[in-house]
Symmetry: C2
Subunit: 272 residues, 2 copies
């Protein structure tokens, strides 16, 4: 009879708890190359990705809920059981699911790698996206629409920020990502192989279907794109307002533009 | 010299404070016909609408911030100054702007009124939308795309719920609204004058431009539309997935579908 995996949980050391509790800070994530992924869907997406996982943490009072799941995991993955007090140091979630992974940040991609992947779908270029919820939602939408990669500029929120990971519902681990990019240098190189479309809140042509070698450039909800970057695009798209209101939210405008980017592309996923 | 309006603020009675503090409950809103609208943008949208306002509440410690604005208001509108403690009873906002309106719910519209307005744009029909943020965002998007009215089914969140009002950024007061509707009875009547399009997560045709006499029917993020309602539509639209992921979020899918609904329609708003 197999021994249920939840019986083999280890107790974390104080040093481990201290380290994990600091992973909400970008500085600690960069120094250690580790990050936290919370919640079942997110943990599952991480385990199904090519990213490595260092440990799985379970809230002891909820271990029965995760026992069956833990039995499906490789024995080489360390499982830790945490008390409610220890758990509180790692997350602000008021009603935690009780499952958390300590993930290992993969080696940074180079632009050339990402552009090579661009053969399989459009690229998404993001300028100074500071709202974690917005960034997470944008990545989730990009994955849904078959985008092949994301380039995130300097001055954006860290994509391994817990709020980004949560809003992205695990999609972060499945989209090739380049971050901390200087878009004024990246755009000219992307333009050599891609048709670069920028989103403009003021003027531009109506969005329209285009080939797969497209790169869609979006700015933040509050500031949009600076003129210096818009000037480097091949084309500017504008979603016309038909009624009244100040603006569409960024995730909604982005959904419309990404939908247009892949409009004529064949479906790459099996349909239900 | 005009006496600055912020000097003429009244102190609220205990009975007023008690009543206002209960306006977070749908029951109290229905019994009194009153609701709270918080934040400058929302208050401004309410004052610019055809809805009536019973009183304006100002957090005393922030009265200098609102003095100039208050001077632009009709003298007939009562202004109340509230202490921080009194304010806390009315809102959960951790860093309040310090401005709140007590609004008066307008008389309920009839379906016939709403359909008459449908000559000026499409209608949005919503089935069991329980997430306040989603409902608010849907209404804001509908206003942006020039929809002429919204029908909200029974079993949805109250559109005058403070979280809906906030997410809608004041658009609630500018879109004719019918709520508590039984869509199985409403749909056959709407179909007499409108082409009814339902959103389907499984099958259907690609979204496409259509005339103004269109009614777009959407379900909740978790459950979509029931078969009984989908059967009553003239057409079903499906946004195809091109990559991977479980689903688009409702506000994003809705933005794409509303955008398609008005795609060929002429712009009704002055362009910047």
């Amino acid at each position: 009879m197999a021994i249920p995996r939840h019986l083999t949980m280890q107790n974390p050391s104080k040093a481990q708890l201290r380290l994990w509790s600091r992973l909400d800070k970008v500085k600690t994530r960069e120094e250690t190359g580790l990050f936290l992924a919370e919640g079942f869907k997110v943990v599952q997406a991480l385990l199904e990705s090519r990213w490595d996982v260092q440990a799985l943490l379970i809230l002891e009072e909820k271990k029965d809920r995760w026992a069956a799941f833990c039995e499906t995991l490789p024995v080489s993955l360390p499982l830790y059981g945490l008390t409610r007090k220890e758990w509180k140091g790692l997350t602000q979630d008021v009603s935690p699911e009780g499952i958390l992974a300590v993930g290992i940040t993969p080696p940074r991609l180079q632009l050339a790698d990402l552009m090579a992947k661009g053969a399989r779908g459009p690229l998404l270029l993001l300028h100074e996206i500071n709202n974690p919820g917005n960034l997470g939602t944008l990545v989730r939408t990009a994955l849904w629409f078959g985008f092949a990669g994301v380039v995130l500029s300097q001055g954006s929120v860290d994509p391994l920020n817990p709020k980004v990971i949560r809003a992205a519902m695990g999609s972060i681990f499945h989209v090739p990502f380049l971050f901390g990019a200087d878009l004024s240098k990246v755009l000219p190189r992307v333009k050599e192989n891609f048709h670069v479309v920028g989103s403009s809140v003021r003027t531009g042509t109506l969005p329209h279907a285009c080939g797969e070698k497209t790169a869609l450039l979006l700015g933040s909800e509050s500031h949009g794109l600076p003129e210096t970057l818009l000037k480097l695009t091949d084309e500017q798209w504008h979603i016309p307002r038909r009624g009244v209101g100040e603006s569409l939210s960024l995730p909604q405008a982005a959904a419309i533009l990404m939908y247009e980017c892949v409009r004529s592309a064949p479906s790459r996923a099996a349909r239900p």
